[in-house]
Symmetry: C2
Subunit: 339 residues, 2 copies
Amino acid sequence: MAGIPNAGSAPTLEMVAARAGVSRATVSRVVNGSPKVSPDVVAVVQEAIAALNYVPNRAARSLASRRTQAIALVVPESTAKVFNDPFFATLVQGIGLALADTEYTLSMLIESEAAFDKTRRYLLGGNVDGALVASHHTGDHSYAHVSRSLPVVFGGRPLDPGEQVNHTVDVDNAHGAELAGDHLVERGRRRIAAIAGPQDMPPGVDRLRGWQRSLERAGLAIDLVGYGDFSPASGAEAMRRLLEREPSIDGVFAANDQMAIGAYTAILETGRSIPGDVAVVGFDDDQYAAMAVPPLTTVHQPSLEMGEVMARTLVRLIDGEDVPATTLLPTRLVVRQSS
Amino acid sequence: MAGIPNAGSAPTLEMVAARAGVSRATVSRVVNGSPKVSPDVVAVVQEAIAALNYVPNRAARSLASRRTQAIALVVPESTAKVFNDPFFATLVQGIGLALADTEYTLSMLIESEAAFDKTRRYLLGGNVDGALVASHHTGDHSYAHVSRSLPVVFGGRPLDPGEQVNHTVDVDNAHGAELAGDHLVERGRRRIAAIAGPQDMPPGVDRLRGWQRSLERAGLAIDLVGYGDFSPASGAEAMRRLLEREPSIDGVFAANDQMAIGAYTAILETGRSIPGDVAVVGFDDDQYAAMAVPPLTTVHQPSLEMGEVMARTLVRLIDGEDVPATTLLPTRLVVRQSS
DNA sequence: TTGTATGCGTTATCAA
DNA sequence: TTGATAACGCATACAA
């Protein structure tokens, strides 16, 4: 079976073994850091490895060991918005950070409409030991299905609270929005509007609900609600309509910073000042919030930490540890000059 | 060797073969769309595949066929800046778009300082059929080395023009900056400053050079140069220093939009108006450029197209086709209200 | 502590 | 057109 070592292509375990004068098994043990190999043999083998510039073949290793040392990050949303969202960028960063401590590598699956089956096949084809699903919204019950045969951690809760998805990591959206509402109330604002996100996305729903709770507690009306899709342009448009409908608006909570920046445009267009005439509070604390003119008061979302927690949770899941089904990360208000 | 089909875990070729009453070889042919299989056999096999919900194991397939159907995207920069850069986000989008038409999947390697060897091992360990290296700057001669044993396409030229890297796709940075300079000159500006990017990054160098060429051609001084790191904060800081040094500045070219937005802050702080007192031109045409107040005149960089071209180039390279060593993508000026 | 032998799930090379 | 059977490169139970 052994045959002649293939001299042409990439070095194999076999070639290292031949050069070191030991068996393939021993080389394998050294490569995998087995404790039961005598020091001198380890030295000889490592020298051979270095000399040949040997790198283990992952496919072979994965086939034999039944693990891949890779995890997938699935982004089931139409790419454009997702990638232009600083939140997502930071999330990926956190994931990368957490994974840097491990031997896992990240495989990114960009989910376009047509490629759903491609992704599913990839996940089920033994390419990864587990998957991270970011931005979990309406359509993807399909991935809940995948989670039955593969460890999966979802970022964000499922849209339907009744739907028990095994493992999720989420940010406390509702509470953050309440903080925003409370802050505007404390600042003496009375006609407080909201620019909500899509109501088919959990953060869209939760942030609107938090705002409502806060205003109701203060005895204020919750009739001033506009909707956007989390983009700056949609925020501007929603704000324009709100101001037309109710010129006396003196405060507004936008469900994310990008829409808040859009609202800035609409408010300034009408000659109103920020925060003099209208106080603005956003959500996310993305990098543009602090740079806006005036700097935006917003709810800080721990997106970096969320990425880290998601990755660590998945790794523990893969290792067979017991992890909580749901992790909720705290949010906090960052007061700047727009309120 | 055959043994009893493993009923517990994922379905294998073997199990499909048993159910369809054919050999493994035939099932393999059907899965791979071989033309030399009789239609009725194809039908039976496909039914068995569907019934068992069979998905080929990628590791085994890769081991046997010596290809992985995966390509890596290497991001060799400290993650924070890269991920907050809209340019990068769009680049990834373009790559995803181009790959959606193919059977390739994307593996993302986030390069932290310490993990360099991990990345190298991954690339050389037979995990991918080729690699895309984004944001190619100083340190990574290492990847030029990798490109000798694996098809690699670099985004952006190497820092040292003399260093012949096999395949690169780049944007015409110098020409874009010239367009920006020419535009400011045409608008009658005479004291035109530049906020340059890091001079250890090719775009930083090329964009500054383009601005210089334009001003020299117009007979203007090129003494007003500040430097930033492509972040909004650094743009603001550079602008503050420039205005202190030379209060008569009436135009500024920033090497990217984020620094231009930072410059807005610094300019407005001093009570100056845009473009009345100071005209501003950026570079990139990212999504915030159009939303800025006033909307930012900028040089459009085809980042989406760049991603697509990089991906397509790599695929062709993997297929053994002949592709040009360098592809240069055109830039164009987008005039808005800041100039 | 080390080596032998077998299997991981496919593809590919032969024959039939 | 189909079927045996040998790789593919490594891990691991079992023997020594």
